[in-house]
């Protein structure tokens, strides 16, 4: 195996993630797309570390931090979704239009 297949998979994950964020109307769907982006980063870091800088575990160490922070963000995001759902009984972005942005 070489580095390139990993990079191609992660680039695809990134593109799917961005596409999902831009087209999904359900907030949960957007959250899942963002998780895809975070995971493409993880694949990148681990692959770079393994194939190019095998002497240390620096890239893999960063991955652990990324996973932990992504989990913390997901917790906050889901609780915000719950707060909105209690108010308007909907998780669709087109129903969030009180503030004209």
């Amino acid at each position: 195996m070489t580095l390139h297949p990993y990079l191609i998979v992660s680039a695809f994950l990134l593109i799917i993630g961005i596409y999902g964020v831009l087209t999904r109307r359900n907030i949960i769907g957007i959250l899942m797309s963002i998780e895809l982006i975070f995971n493409s980063v993880n694949i990148n870091l681990v692959a770079f570390n393994h194939f190019l800088y095998g002497g240390n575990l620096y890239g893999q160490g960063i991955t652990i931090f990324v996973i932990a922070v992504a989990a913390a963000e997901a917790v906050v995001g889901l609780s915000l979704v719950l707060a909105i759902y209690r108010n308007i009984k909907s998780v669709y972005v087109e129903n969030m239009n009180i503030l004209k942005g």
Binding site: V21, I34, N44, Y58, I62, I84, N87, L99, K100, G101
Partner: protein
Amino acid sequence: MIASIRLILPEIFLSGSALFLLGWDAFIQEHLKKWVFWMSFFALAITFFLLIHPPQEGVAFGMLVQDPFSLFFKVLALFSAGFILLISREDKALMGDYAGTYVSLILFSVVGTMFLSSAKDLLMLFLGMELTTIPLFILAGFLRNDLRSSEGAIKFFLVGTLSTGLMLFGISYLYGLTGSTQFKEIYEWFNKTQLGNGDLVLFFLAILFLLAGLGFKLSLVPFHQWTPDTYEGAPTPITAFFSVSREAGVIVVTVRLFSEYLKQNQMGMTSFFALLSILTMTIGNIAALRQNNLKRLLAYSSIAHAGTIFIGLVAGNRLGREGIMLYSLAYFLMSLGAFSVVIYVSRLKNSEDISSIQGLSKENFPLSLMMLFFLLSLSGIPPFLGFWAKFYVFWAAIEAKLFYLVAIALLNAIIAVYYYFRIVHKMFFQEPSYSQPLSSRLERHYGLEFATLLAVSLLLLFGIFPQSLLSWIKGSSVIIP
């Protein structure tokens, strides 16, 4: 090891006390809750003492650099937290049942800003930025039963996490290219190696991704749409906190990351950053012209000010750094002051619309006078500190021979005067609108009044006698690479 721990002792202490206050909220009886305010002040004071006595210099764990430049912004972050606690002290929705949670979230965000302002490593940049932002997500949606608060928070959250993801993608490519996440080693790699075209394209792509994350936090123009909504929805003290703490840490880390490239004008980066700054100023100012909600107006004006601060970064010289410091301090005082007045008015009239401030001079003359001072300072008119801040930033750009940038910034300053003086006109030359009568139960707001008075007196004091402040800033603009 011990030396490194001593260097980050203030941060350790502050996060410890934030955890303590969080626990205090959960386990302590009702009647003890009023002590949360004083305890948080005490924690901030001890952190300040640990920071400045004696001021430390050096590098902790190879990732966090302590120098006079970061010290300045850390002190700024601590003081902004103190101000926010003061102005939200009498707010029942914030400092009521969940006071401990509220205070601890603010303290966590300040710890993040402190880490960010001394980060010299991409990993620390990422962690500091998340530690600053995640508490802000929660704080923006703190009024759980208010739909506007939740909606602003969710918009902020979605844009925020997306940009964090993009920034991380950039970081992963920088790591892949250089094998390091240290700012310095990345710059050395960029300078020394004979780079092929493919490497350069990847490097530039990575920098663009990284800028997406930083630009979101600074609300630079392609990433600014969340700002007005979040500012309007969030509880007003938090809006004031947004406009200050968010900027301070990120601008420092951007300076550390990019100032070397900008000094040498690598890859045309100077004109690229100048374009970002121009777009941010112009779009912020033009959008602010037709806002009728005071918080939205101040939000757009904060976007414009972010663009102006960015000029100091584009200049890339030491004078630019001094301009950034002075501007951050001035913006901290005048924006917090303006938001305090908005809070005061909205507590009296239950409205943040621009008509609520109509005829304020006839109802409460001192308040309208203070608002006038803040607005004069925001539009950069002497003798207030806002003038010196603009002056320094422009001076730095002239020294770097960026004349077109200064010209456009001056035009923007003129546009800004229009919408600030629209508020002044409403306050002084129109009759009060009696459709929204002053609420009958007037409580005293000691914290809010004290904070506003302090802000206005500091603005005037530093504006008229800037010498001591300027020499302090000159001394603190040293950065350890």
